[in-house]
């Protein structure tokens, strides 16, 4: 598989993301935000984490208008796989490629720690290597991860199986981490080809760094 990893001014997880996919045996290519096209031979686009445009105005609000995002929208609309991690998730919601929005964390803190996540749905192109109900240990690092969607939107997400991961304790029970609606940590679009999550699977690749559950999660993306 070949993965395009986007790079905006302020992106800071692009090399970790490349490292992760290369460790899994995939080819990667960095794509600068001013490019108005994507490489033609790719199988997935990753919008990595960071602080694009300094999070000015709102996280992801300015990056979504970068030339490359037009190409990403076209790619997604044609069924191409797109993954947004952390700031990438924020950019994808701002771009309207994913439902909902990410607000400031309830406690106003920048939360940076290992966090357990419950896999909610595996009927998609991303989490097919995991089991529903499985608990993964993946780090989070964000100030604006408080996922919001109105009640009607939430019902739709539930009905379509679009909620892919939720924050939980070690036994899989939901926990409040940042104030997200029903502890949502990651959602996909209706067509299930665009996935965004606040946790960083690319930071959980080696047990010496606390967890290798990120490998398991990312493995499914190329399957």
């Amino acid at each position: 598989m070949k993965v395009a990893v986007l790079r905006f001014p302020g992106t800071n997880c692009e090399f970790d993301t490349q490292y992760a996919f290369e460790k899994l045996g995939h080819e990667t290519e960095l794509v600068w935000h001013e490019n108005d096209t994507l490489p033609s031979d790719i199988d997935m686009v990753v919008v990595p984490g960071g602080f694009s445009y300094g999070d000015y105005l709102r996280s992801g609000a300015i990056a979504r208008f970068s030339p490359v995002m037009k190409a990403v929208t076209k790619y997604a609309n044609e069924g191409g796989k797109v993954l947004g991690i952390c700031n990438g998730f924020q950019i994808l919601t701002e771009a309207g490629l994913l439902p909902g929005a990410l607000k400031r964390n309830n406690n106003l803190h920048f939360i940076s720690k290992h966090q357990t996540l419950r896999v909610e749905n595996t009927d998609n192109a991303f989490l097919n290597q995991c089991e529903t109900g499985e608990v993964l240990n993946i780090p989070i690092a964000h100030a604006d991860g408080n996922y919001y969607i109105d009640d009607e939107g939430l019902e739709k997400l539930e009905a379509n199986g679009q909620i892919l991961v939720r924050y939980c304790d070690e036994d899989g029970n939901r926990v409040v981490v940042n104030g997200s609606v029903t502890s949502i940590a990651g959602v996909c679009n209706e067509k299930k080809n665009v996935f965004g999550l606040m946790p960083h699977p690319e930071r959980a690749l080696e047990s010496i760094l606390g967890s290798e559950d990120g490998m398991k999660m990312l493995k499914g993306f190329g399957a």
Binding site: L57, R58, A61, I62, F65, T93, E94, G100, A101, K103, R104, N105, N106, N107, L108, N146, Y148, I149, G179
Partner: protein, 79 residues
């Protein structure tokens, strides 16, 4: 002309900054504060004297970029 845009989280969307500030005001002994909402103000200098045109343009700016209408409301004042 000057356009003043105020952007706030929608009613019913919890405002963590407003809540923390409300709590701080309570702690400082300021009684009688029922609610605190924190938003942002964006001031635009516009190169036009046509108020209707300015209003329409700024509304489009709000819908496109200045507000995220999933979670935020906005109002526009043109002077």
């Amino acid at each position: 002309m000057t356009a003043i845009v105020n952007v706030f989280l929608k009613e019913g969307v919890l405002d963590p900054q407003g809540k923390a500030t409300h709590h701080a005001l309570d702690s400082l002994g300021f009684e009688g504060v029922k609610d605190v909402r924190i938003g942002k103000q964006i001031v635009l200098q516009l190169d036009t004297d046509d108020k209707a045109k300015a209003e329409a343009e700024v509304k489009e700016m709000c819908e496109t970029l200045l507000a995220n209408t999933v979670i935020e409301d906005y109002n526009i004042e043109i002077k």
